[in-house]
């Protein structure tokens, strides 16, 4: 039996609509089945409270006397963007303070403003006939501003990858501090409570949908940046980062409880944003999707020690595993933790539920549906090992030293690969050979060839350069998945294309 938006809103006004949070819906459907849920439940509320760097606020400060047209503007030493009209500026959450660096940024300015604190406004200009003033310094509060809109280009990721670190050093990322040797795993989504995981095909969520944002009513104004519908799905939900939302709310109505500034050491400043979307249960299909639970939502744990856009997948897990606090990696138990507080996500979903129950919040039919989109990488020249490698000089493993030293000289190379029937066995450098000759060794197997670190043709030069640097070597054999020798890549080959740190 299908319901309409209007019918649900009528029930909300009469005060007899049945609202559940996405977590309560899981239980309800488990007990009563989808059919009954579709009939009895009107709205399911979702919630998330994640660190969302792509957030910020448009502020209008009003005109000074005499007036100024901002050329540059700072709020508590954090620069805001003012390449628009005279006294409008956008303070980005991730912008860092010029005096306090990582410990204070745009997110902190926003938090200070909504907590009613005074913020120092400092602006400079070139001065014009109509805006003669060249600088100003004053204190302002949120109340003093004409408009203040929270306007976030990308919030509420549908799902996201989890992070770990295979290297032997601690790394600091936007996924938090990652301890060496798979010391921990971090993840970021509200999973079963997350808005877009509960309506994964955007059947009720679209442009114009009224939502909970930062403790007040907000709106979805479009797909978020990096919106991606082309990620492989499992149980309807993308495995990894999928769709996103672009949202707006009145910052003057925001609740400091649902906007919190944060610093990720070694990464930067970000803003935790509370966001919840109500999902009207129009039919059984929608009811069924809102009953999705952590055990049905999967993500990849990626190795963040690899400094590349395409980080290797260490393991694919579901959120029930992640929430348990431990996952197994290579036979070892590894502790997991969330970057995004589940407790706050619940608070968002509960608050939204209360608003609807009290008749303060109507659901809306989207004005326009989201359009499918694919995530493209930046257009710039990326070079792959396969394009840059050269032909390797190869000898069979039973070759003698004499033959090898001749090859090194004749072919004018520094590295020779050792093969057994085309498969890589090892690598010797001219230095290895010189030492072997000096110590009277005759055959290859009489001296040790180095343990072989290799490269794949599909890897990028950046990654391979980093591997060489880490291991203190200047060439890598290039092999396919079966260890068949394809060529060799040297530091010189790479240096022609990129700057190695």
């Amino acid at each position: 039996m299908a319901k309409t938006y209007e019918e649900i809103n009528q029930r909300i006004h009469r005060g007899d609509a049945v609202i559940l949070t996405a977590e309560e819906m899981i239980e309800y459907v488990r007990k009563n089945g989808v059919k009954k849920a579709a009939k009895e439940i009107d709205v399911v509320t979702t919630g998330t409270f994640g660190a969302m760097c792509s957030s910020g606020a448009w502020l209008n400060f009003g005109h000074a006397e005499p007036p100024i047209k901002f050329q540059r503007v700072w709020l508590n030493d954090v620069e805001a963007y003012t390449g628009v009209a005279a006294v409008d500026a956008y303070i980005g959450a991730a912008q860092l303070s010029e005096t306090e660096g990582f410990e204070y940024g745009g997110a902190h300015v926003i938090e200070d403003l909504i907590r009613g604190e005074e913020v120092e406004l400092r602006a400079t200009s070139y001065g014009t006939d109509c805006y003669p003033r060249k600088k100003i310094k004053t204190q302002v509060t949120l109340e003093d501003l004409n408009q203040a809109w929270l306007l976030n280009p990308r919030n509420s990721y549908q799902n996201y990858t989890a992070a770990t670190n295979s290297s032997d050093k601690t790394i600091y990322t936007y996924m938090g501090k990652l301890l060496p040797n798979y010391g921990n795993v971090t993840y970021t989504t509200a999973s079963q409570l997350s808005p877009l995981n509960n309506d994964p095909y955007f059947e009720t969520i679209g442009i114009g949908t009224r939502i909970f944002l930062a403790g007040t009513h907000g709106y979805i104004i479009g797909e978020g940046t990096q919106f991606n519908t082309e990620v492989p799905r499992k149980n309807g939900v993308p495995v990894g980062a999928g769709a996103t939302l672009s949202v707006r709310a009145n910052l003057k109505e925001a609740d400091p409880n649902f906007l919190k500034a944060a610093t990720f050491t070694g990464y930067g400043v970000t803003l935790f944003v509370g966001l919840g979307v109500p999902i009207p249960i129009l039919n059984e299909k929608i009811a069924e999707r809102t009953a999705i639970s952590d055990a049905d939502i999967y993500t990849h744990i990626l190795d963040y020690s690899v400094p590349s856009r395409s980080r290797p997948v260490v393991k694919t897990v579901n959120y029930a595993d992640l929430r348990s606090g431990r996952v197994e990696i290579n036979g070892e138990e590894v502790r997991t933790s969330s970057v995004a507080p589940l407790k706050k996500a619940r608070e968002v979903a509960e608050t939204l539920k209360k608003w609807i129950e009290e008749g303060q919040f109507e659901i809306t039919r989207p004005l326009e549906a989201f359009k499918p989109a694919e995530l493209r990488p930046m257009r710039h020249n990326v070079h792959y090992v396969g394009d840059v490698m050269e032909k390797a000089v190869i000898v069979e493993e039973d070759a003698d030293i004499e033959e090898i030293s001749q090859l090194l000289i004749n072919k004018n190379v520094n590295h020779i690969l050792i093969s057994r029937e085309g498969r890589l066995e090892g690598i010797v450098t001219s230095w290895d050979v010189a030492k072997a000759v000096a110590s009277g060794k005759k055959r290859l197997r009489d001296f040790e060839v180095r343990g072989v670190i290799t490269a794949k043709p599909t890897e990028t030069l950046g990654i391979v350069a980093e591997r060489m640097r880490k291991n203190g070597i200047s060439a890598l054999p290039v092999v396919d998945n079966h260890n068949k020798i394809l060529g060799i890549i040297t530091a010189e080959n790479i240096a022609r294309f990129i700057d190695i740190k």
Binding site: E103, G176, L179, V185, T186, G325, T336, L342, K344
Partner: protein, 128 residues
């Protein structure tokens, strides 16, 4: 083990030689470890006279708290993200059934791993 205490002199306890009186009265060998301009003092009190000293100081209006060698946790700043739970090697942090952060300071060995991991800067080394 001799415990460390943080003494805060304020209100009634200001402007009186409280500590001197205390030593005279209790004959306890109180060891002053640190003191700052705001009237805070970190002291070591021998186990044998601990009870007497604490009673005396509290009676004189001194704010006395035991100073443990553990990470300081600011509940007000914490958002219960739980990030610290996977960093602490001794399991001093955990999330309860409501997903609220629980800090079991008896487990903290002050290794410091969690401090720069907290995105809300709710964790810090003891100031004294």
């Amino acid at each position: 083990m001799t415990k460390k205490y943080l003494l805060k002199f304020g209100g009634r306890a200001l402007g009186k030689p409280v500590l001197a009186d205390c030593v005279l009265k209790t004959k306890a060998r109180i060891n002053i470890l640190k003191a700052d301009a705001e009237g805070n003092m970190l002291v070591k009190i021998p186990k044998s006279s601990e009870e007497k000293v604490l009673r005396f100081l509290r009676d004189e209006g001194v704010d006395v708290t035991e100073q443990k060698n553990v990470v300081e946790y600011d509940r007000e700043r914490c958002i219960d993200c739980g990030l610290c739970t996977s960093l602490c090697p001794t399991g001093a942090f955990s999330l309860d059934a409501e997903s609220t952060l629980v800090y079991n300071e008896d487990k903290c060995v002050l290794c410091g791993l969690c401090i720069d991991a907290c995105p809300r800067r709710a964790l810090s080394k003891p100031k004294f």
